[in-house]
Amino acid sequence: MIIYPFIIEILQILIILAVAPAFAGWVKILKCWSQGRTSPGLFQPYRDIVKLFSKDVVLAENASWIFRFTPYLVFGATVLAGGIVPMLSVDLPLAATADVIALVALFAIARFFIALAGMDIGTAFGGMGSSREMTIASLAEPAMLMAIFTVSLASKSTSLSQMIQVIYSGQSVFRPSIAFALLAFILIALAETGRIPVDNPATHLELTMIHEAMILEYSGRHLALIEWAGMMKLFLFVMLGIAVFLPWGIAASGNLEAIPAAFLFMLLKLGIAGVCLVLIETGLAKMRLFRLTEFLGSAFLLATLGMLSYFILE
């Protein structure tokens, strides 16, 4: 049926809106457990968002329209990206909207506007956050592209659906190039989503915060949108990693019968991804800003090694 892909598309966007906070909650629970604290529960992010939505907005006197527009734009770009990454099925009407490179660019436009919003009020914190965020992003970008390049060598495509199809079509032997690319991708994803060791999402200490510094002046529904979009971004990077490296479970056709199984697979993989993320975050300390060159440099190196191993070994 031609209509099914559209239903799946809508379903997928609803899932990303609904499940992303739960994933953030899951990560928080695991982190609390690993640090011997009592956790606030899986539904705390939902309660946070609802609370923020019902609050009034406090705006600085000189906030311009950019400051007020940014939360909506960030939310919009993230939701659109959520419609593009295959989560349940390969056959998505929006999948042709963007390949991996354009998908990364969608996150880039969100980041561009958050960085502008950070400078809008004119406090030192906002500018500091913007400056650091853009620096890290520009170091992460070449590594990201190299990882994409390596992965696209095998599938001869940068379209996500096509990459999954190629993996499904039988060349599922474990390739060294893909392993290197996966390692690189994990490092980049940590940087892009602002997790330890690059940035600490829980900190409000002026010397260390990056992402939090940019959104420090937000409140009320604006903050809710940004927080929600942040959770979706984390969720989407996990989904992107799953789609590119471990797609098994995603339905290969646009039939509705395969969707429940695909959904369960997705939850399972999310759970495991959360465990991995927490292991990384508890095992490492946050790095100094200028050590990040080495961190992202090694991501670039790994991706390059992946590319070399494709040409040499495969």
Binding site: L59, A96, A108, I109, A115, M119, G127, M134, S138, T158
Partner: protein, 681 residues
């Protein structure tokens, strides 16, 4: 009576020349002169766009031979799709800039007469139009020199400032060194065409018909590439660019950066793809490497600037680099007989040529509007302009997003196409290239991300936050002609970003003419909404869906959240309990780029000086802190200083001949005559 496209183009040039000549008649009433002069250039530019768009769209080739020139070599004009494309690019930006100038140049009223500005503006436009129309080496070089000379006088316009005179001098020197190389290149080609007999070899038609031996062709190509690279500001020949572009009036900067540099790109394409035709892959590799170096170094230097127009000028270096990347890849693909991939890379490069003209023109116009309002080029003294200049701010932001290669604007499309060309390089049959070319893609990604950082800085420091300056000028929004000029180019940026398929469809004749393959049929394989460079399962991007999708979610979220009235409280900014917060405590351009300066510092010559003035002689309680930072182009010290020193030394040595005594000079003449009589009987 029927017109051909080349007639329309000729009328456009004629109109510009008439305007230039008659401008001095209106010298008395400057206000009227500005309105009439720039209205006429607007019309002329529009004619050029019409001629160019028609030529490319219908794949026409028209030729005209003017009854002027040398006896043996009349002026040949030719309008083919390649010329037509560049005519469209130049015409479109000069159309917007001419409208903008009606408002902008009025700022000079009462300060200085603008007649010379209008005359040279017309000559400058006419020169650029003629360069792309020329079909023989002589006419090409004459047009090239008209363009260079006119722009020299435009850079010199405010000639009471020493920096303007210095910049213009540097510019004209580099332009002429380049022009000599181009002349030599044409000389080689013409000489081989006819065996140094007569002038007929100087027409491009004769060169096209000749098959050049590889050695001579390489010499011609390298000379031409050097000459055009000097004009385009390719690193390391870029030093004139960040000096000359900022000091010219902003409408001129927009044209110089947006389109004059493109005539050099035109020259490179014309000579390599059209006149020489066959080439080994390493020519393309040279172009690619210079492109990559220019792109990365250009954007890094731009990040270090705090002069808004200088920052934009360095970004021109970067974008020329990106264009050259596309052209270099195309040359490599062509030399390996892969016309389809060559067409893709060439389309990417040419698309970026168009895009860069639009957004860089827009950004320079925006910078001009800021300069017009604040009389300030230093970003450290600006801030908060978004409240006082909402139009300029919004339009400048469009330019920033476009140049940072962010969807759904146009810069993204061409960089994305360049990435796709990179991703296709593994199909090259050379293992060495397979391993090295992906590094280029990584460098391009670095460039794009750094550009985004740079424009967060440029926009953030100039338009956001509080006013940082010491004095408080009365800032007014730009007037309507300026707004319209900027608005039109902003809309073009958005249009090209959302509907790239239509544009690629239009310019398809070009890649067919140059590399013998079309990509429009595959690029629009899924329909006009999706851009699919080679095949839809390879990669696809849909500008309309991205734009409409994001906007739809934004609107839905906005409406849902505003269904319930929630108050917005406007409060003073939170100062963390520190009550003496002031505007100088904001992040500024220098502090914003500090992390990047620290990471990439080895590429610059940086002198940082911190001096504490202590309070009561106790260093623990500093009273005041002086921070001095000087960042210089490494190339100036490495490359130019030795050349400057050597040429001064040589002139001093030659200067010894000049004794100032008539007797000595008479001896010189006498010796010369003797020598001539002995050797040249």
């Amino acid at each position: 009576m029927t017109f051909s496209s080349i007639d329309i183009a000729s009328y456009s040039i004629l109109l510009l020349l008439i305007t230039a000549i008659s401008a001095s008649l209106l010298n008395r009433s400057q206000k009227l002169l500005i309105t009439i002069g720039f209205s006429l250039t607007t019309i002329a530019s529009f004619l050029a766009v019409a001629a160019g768009a028609w030529t490319v769209g219908s794949n026409l080739t028209n030729k005209v031979i003017l009854p002027a020139g040398l006896p043996d070599l009349l002026f040949h004009l030719r309008l083919d799709p390649l010329s037509g494309f560049f005519l469209t690019v130049i015409g479109l930006l000069s159309f917007f800039v001419s409208i903008y100038s009606i408002g902008y140049i009025k700022g000079f009223l009462g300060h200085r007469p603008v007649t010379s500005l209008i005359i040279f503006y017309c000559l400058f436009l006419a020169g650029m139009f003629m360069v792309v129309l020329a079909d023989d080496a002589l006419f090409f070089l004459i047009s090239w020199e008209i363009m260079a000379a006119a722009s020299y006088f435009l850079v010199m316009f405010e000639d009471e400032k020493i920096e303007n005179r210095r910049a213009a001098f540097l510019y004209i020197i580099v332009a002429h060194v380049g022009a000599i190389a181009i002349l030599l290149s044409f000389g080689i080609m013409a000489g081989l065409t006819t065996g140094f007999q007569g002038f007929s070899g100087y027409t491009f038609d004769a060169m096209r018909a000749t098959k050049f031996p590889l050695g001579w062709a390489t010499a011609a190509f390298l000379l031409a590439f050097f000459g055009f690279a000097a004009k385009a500001g390719v690193i390391p020949l870029h030093v004139w660019l960040p000096e000359a572009h900022p000091v010219a009036p902003s409408n001129i900067s927009a044209l110089m950066s947006g389109v004059m540099l493109k005539t050099a790109i035109y020259g490179i394409i014309r000579i390599s793809f059209d006149l020489l035709k066959v080439f080994p892959w390493w020519w393309g590799a040279i172009v690619l490497v210079f492109g990559l170096v220019s792109a990365v170094m250009g954007v890094l230097y731009a990040l270090m600037q705090h002069d808004l127009k200088r920052l934009l000028a360095y970004h021109s270096v970067e974008n020329i680099g990106i264009i050259l990347i596309g052209i270099g890849l195309s040359m490599i693909f062509t030399s390996f007989q892969m016309p389809l991939l060559a067409a893709l890379a060439l389309t990417a490069g040419l698309f970026h040529t168009m895009n860069h003209a639009m957004f860089k023109g827009l950004l320079f116009m925006g910078a001009g509007a800021v300069l017009h309002a604040t009389h300030e080029r230093n970003m450290e003294e600006m801030g908060g302009l978004i409240h006082k200049m909402p139009w300029t701010a919004a339009l400048f932001l469009v330019g920033c997003i476009s140049i940072s290669a962010l969807p759904p604007f146009n810069g993204f499309v061409s960089e994305w196409l360049t990435f796709q060309a990179f991703l296709l390089s593994p199909s090259l049959p050379s293992p060495l290239l397979n391993l090295l070319i992906p590094m280029g893609a990584a460098l391009l990604a670095l460039t794009g991300a750094l550009a985004a950082a740079c424009f967060v800085k440029a926009f953030g420091v100039t338009f956001l936050g509080h006013w940082r300056g010491h004095h408080n000028p009365n800032i007014k929004e730009a007037d309507w002609p300026m707004r319209i000029g900027m608005l039109l180019s902003a809309l073009t940026c958005l249009g090209l970003g959302i509907l790239p398929t239509l544009f690629i469809d239009w310019m398809d004749a070009l890649s067919e003419q140059l590399v013998g393959a079309k990509i429009a049929s595959s690029a629009t394989g899924l329909g006009w909404m999706w851009l699919t460079p080679i095949a839809h399962d390879r990669a696809s991007y849909s500008g309309p869906i991205v734009f409409v999708g994001i906007m739809a979610v934004v609107v839905i979220a906005y409406v849902l959240l505003h269904s319930r009235p929630a108050a917005i409280h406007r409060v003073p900014i939170w100062d963390c309990g520190f009550e003496k917060i002031n505007q100088r405590m904001q992040y500024n351009a220098t502090s914003f780029s500090m992390p990047i300066r620290r990471i990439f510092g080895f590429l610059f010559s940086i002198k940082e000086n911190v001096r504490l003035v202590s309070y009561l002689g106790n260093a623990v309680f500093p009273k005041r802190l002086h921070y001095h930072l000087r960042i210089r182009d490494l190339f100036w010290g490495w490359l130019y200083k030795p050349v400057v020193k050597a040429s001064f030394w040589a002139s001093r040595q030659v200067g010894r001949l000049q004794q100032g005594r008539i007797q000595v000079y008479l001896i010189y003449s006498f010796v010369t005559i003797i020598i001539l009589l002995v050797f040249l009987r």
